[in-house]
Structures are given as structure tokens and as C-alpha cells.
């Protein structure tokens, strides 16, 4: 286990050498990820880790992938997707064009879930799904629309509980252990690298989803990200967070009203 002092040095050096700012990450979570990496990669001492993190570009990439959490699934929390289907998306349906931002999209499972919902509500043709992540490696995975077949059974079950209308297999073709999702879904997606702390607003959205990303931030970083979302949402737009996340520690809270159930807030002013 690394010492607090070493963790602090690592954070400082990652910023100095690569411009990645982890200073506002949840200290408990960041330490756990770094300790795990240290053990997994068999380092003998901290200096060895530090010098690789500084100057080995390939290793740095690997490090970012391992420190940031990229565990995600399609239709995670099915009741959330049911609420999107029955309450949120129908109110957006009257708009001529629907802009959605998946902030911290990881490997894209939630973006594809959204595209499937939009397709079933006959809204996909007039929607655009912007999907961003800090980590370019996960975006490359997401763009392909290829997900391991072994995960599909769970996703199909989530989809069914979320009131899916079709046979889930209508949306993909199985090939060499992967499910390849249809190009029609992919054609409405725009993937790009974006850092929620250092990059600004880039469009105005009707719905922003950022689920289980803020949990890795401390209160300061959460505030920065939430202010960015506020700035990037149209009036009466929606913000959706993870089931255990909240906006109640931030300054934007009084401009938003939470739905009765689910972690979805409507921007009132």
C-alpha cells in the first residue's frame, strides 16, 4: 500500500507531465485504484511506478485505463430506463430535434441503450447522441458497437424489465463471440474526448446523462461538473445521474426540480 505522501506526489506528477488532473478525485477511490495497479503490475517501489507514469507513454495510457473505472452495462437500473421511456422522452418528442449528451460514456453501453429507446419511440431519426469520455481508449471501443456475447443475456434481461418492446436480438448480429449492434443506431452517435473538469460547454442539450461518474469526484470537482451540465442544458432540460448520486451538495440545486422517483432533475430556470 502506498503512503498518502506518495499518492500526492503521483497526482502532482500526472498533472505536470500529462495534464491530467486527479486532485479532485475521491481520495478513497483513487488510492484504491492506484494500490490495485501497483499490485497488479508488480512494482517493487514507488519510484519505479512514478518514473514509468512520467515518461512511458504506453504505460501512462494503461494507467489511465486502470485508474478510471470503465465498468458499465446496457440498461443498468432498468426502472431508470422505464422512466426515460414513459416520462422523459415523450416530453422531448415534440421538439423538432433532440440533443442528448452522455458524459463519461465509457465503452458506450448506455449510449446504445438510449439509441434503442429512441428507435422504439420513433425518435431516433431526429435525435443526436453526443458521447464523451476522458479516456480515448474506451471511445474507440464504443464507436464499434461490438459487445461481448457473454454479457448480452444480462442486457436482454435488463431490457425486458425496462419494458423493451422487441426481441433484444433484433438489434444486433452475433459474430465470433461478439454482438454487433446495427449501424442505424451508430449513425446517430458522435463520440469525442472531453474532460468534465478542464473542458467547457460545447453545445446545448435537452437531456444530459452522467451516471456513476461523479461518485469518483470530491465535492469540488462535482461542483465544476454540475455547473458545466447546468450551463449545457436548455431550459426544461433534464439531468440524469446514477442511483446514489445527488446534486444537493451543489449550487445548481435550486434551479432544478427532482422527479418523484429516479435520479432525474428538470432544469426550471
Amino acid at each position: 500500500m502506498l503512503e498518502d505522501r506518495e499518492i500526492a506526489i503521483l497526482i502532482e506528477e500526472l498533472y505536470k507531465y500529462h495534464g491530467y488532473d486527479f486532485s479532485g478525485y475521491s481520495a478513497a477511490s483513487f488510492r484504491r485504484r492506484v494500490d490495485r495497479l501497483y499490485q497488479m503490475d508488480g512494482f517493487e517501489n514507488f519510484t519505479e511506478l512514478l518514473s514509468k507514469a512520467r515518461s512511458d507513454e504506453e504505460y501512462f495510457k494503461h494507467m489511465i485505463e486502470e485508474i478510471t473505472v470503465n465498468v458499465t452495462e446496457m440498461f443498468r437500473d432498468p426502472t431508470f430506463y422505464k422512466t426515460l421511456r414513459t416520462e422523459i422522452l415523450p416530453t422531448l418528442a415534440t421538439k423538432p430535434f433532440i440533443r442528448i449528451w452522455h458524459a463519461g460514456c465509457s465503452t458506450g453501453e448506455e449510449v446504445f441503450s438510449m439509441a434503442i429507446l429512441l428507435k422504439e419511440l420513433n425518435l431516433l431519426h431526429k435525435s443526436l447522441l453526443y458521447a464523451t469520455d476522458l479516456n480515448p481508449a474506451v471511445l474507440d471501443v464504443a464507436k464499434k458497437g461490438l459487445f461481448p456475447l457473454r454479457t448480452i443475456q444480462q442486457y436482454a434481461e435488463n431490457y425486458r424489465i425496462a419494458s423493451g418492446k422487441n426481441d433484444f436480438s433484433d438489434y444486433y448480429t452475433a459474430n465470433y463471440g461478439y454482438a454487433k449492434f446495427s449501424d442505424e443506431l451508430i449513425s446517430r452517435m458522435v463520440y469525442s474526448q472531453h474532460n468534465l473538469i478542464t473542458d467547457g460547454s460545447f453545445n446545448e442539450f435537452d437531456l444530459i446523462l452522467c451516471r456513476n461518474v461523479l461518485i469518483y469526484f470530491d465535492n469540488d470537482f462535482q461542483r465544476v461538473a454540475l455547473e458545466l451540465f447546468d450551463e449545457s442544458l436548455s431550459k426544461l432540460g433534464y439531468l440524469a445521474l446514477g442511483t446514489k448520486e445527488t446534486i444537493k451538495f451543489s449550487s445548481i440545486q435550486h434551479r432544478f426540480k427532482q422527479l418523484d422517483k429516479e435520479k432525474i432533475w428538470k432544469k426550471m430556470i
Partner: protein, 193 residues
């Protein structure tokens, strides 16, 4: 080590368990006196889909209030917290709770090891942990970390646990401070001040 001296320092009591531990928890939590100077955090293996049934069950049976676990809530003395399903529960040094959806550990999320190890770092010797019945090895590494940090480590007597494996895994690699029967656990917690 003088037991009473150590009890004074307890800020958080972590209770971990898996298969067969719910019954033990239900024999303990409803019979506790109000807790004033520390918080109880329960980390139980559970199905990812079951949502908040466990919280509701504990809230219904226990006189000690159950606090909602949300990201960055501050751990308050006098409350019971339950690690939510499908998240790892971590502790910040400023007593905030952090959640994490990273990989399962010991096939589990929440994982007992993850919360115990994090508790050891955040609270050190002010952390007491109890491990109950279970059928996998989750909890062993966490108890080691807590003991190393100076905290008190207790296991249920495996001979009377529904699933002794989890406790035996601990006993094969370390010596806990206490091995207790269920009624002794209740008595012990009621004496923590």
C-alpha cells in the same frame, strides 16, 4: 490489550457477512441500545437486483435509525448504514462516504474487503470490524488491514455459523482479537461507548 480502553476509540463498527449472516444480524440489530458515539456500517453480500429490501428490513426491525447511503454523505454517529447493492462502499478521511462501481472483488459488489480496507485507511485504530457467516473468502484481507492499522477485529464462532467458510478463511491466516457467539456479539456492541 485492555478491551475497555480500545472500545473508547471506536468511531465506526463495520459488520460484514454473506450467506447465513442475515439471521445473525437480525438477532443483533433489533436488540441494540441506542448508539451514541459511533456509527454501524453493514456490508452484506446481496443480489444486485434486490434494490433496497435489506435497508427496509433493517429499518423496520431496528430501533436505531437507518441513514440513507448516498455518495459523499457524511457518516454520522448514532446511525446504521447499509452498503447499497451493486456498489462498493468506501470511506474518505473526512468521514464522507464514497461509492464505486468498479469490478467485483471476490465475486462481490459490495465487497467486504473493499469496505474494510478503506475503513482501515480512513479510521485506523478507531475502526472495529465483525465478520459473520459466509461461503466465500471475502473479508479476510480487510480484517488483516484493520488489525494492522490498530483496529479491533472480531469473528463469529465458526462452529455455530450457518456457513463457516468465510470465518475459517480468516482463522487460517490471522488471529482475530475475539471469537464470539451471537449473544456475546450483542453484548460487546452494547458496551462500546
Amino acid at each position: 490489550m485492555e478491551e475497555n480502553d480500545l472500545k473508547k476509540h471506536c468511531k465506526v463498527l463495520l459488520i460484514g457477512g454473506s450467506a447465513g449472516s442475515l439471521e445473525v444480524l437480525m438477532a443483533i440489530l433489533p436488540n441494540l441500545k441506542p448508539i451514541i458515539n459511533f456509527a454501524i456500517v453493514v456490508i452484506l453480500h446481496r443480489k444486485s437486483a434486490e434494490d433496497s429490501t435489506l435497508e427496509n428490513l433493517i429499518a423496520m426491525k431496528s430501533t436505531i435509525p437507518v441513514a440513507q447511503v448516498e455518495d459523499k454523505e457524511v457518516l454520522k454517529s448514532g446511525f446504521i448504514y447499509v452498503a447499497p447493492s451493486d456498489y462498493h462502499l468506501l470511506f474518505e478521511k473526512n468521514k464522507q462516504l464514497s461509492l464505486d462501481v468498479s469490478e467485483k472483488v471476490n465475486y462481490s459488489r459490495p465487497s467486504i474487503d473493499v469496505s474494510f480496507e478503506s475503513g482501515a485507511i480512513a479510521f485506523g485504530k478507531k475502526c472495529t470490524a465483525i465478520l459473520l457467516s459466509g461461503a466465500n473468502a471475502d473479508g479476510t484481507e480487510g480484517l488483516k488491514a484493520i488489525q494492522k492499522a490498530g483496529g479491533i477485529v472480531i469473528v463469529q464462532n465458526p462452529e455455530n455459523a450457518a456457513m463457516p467458510f468465510m470465518i475459517q478463511s480468516v482463522l487460517s491466516t490471522m488471529t482475530p482479537n475475539h471469537i464470539m457467539e451471537v449473544d456475546e456479539l450483542l453484548d460487546y456492541i452494547n458496551k462500546i461507548q
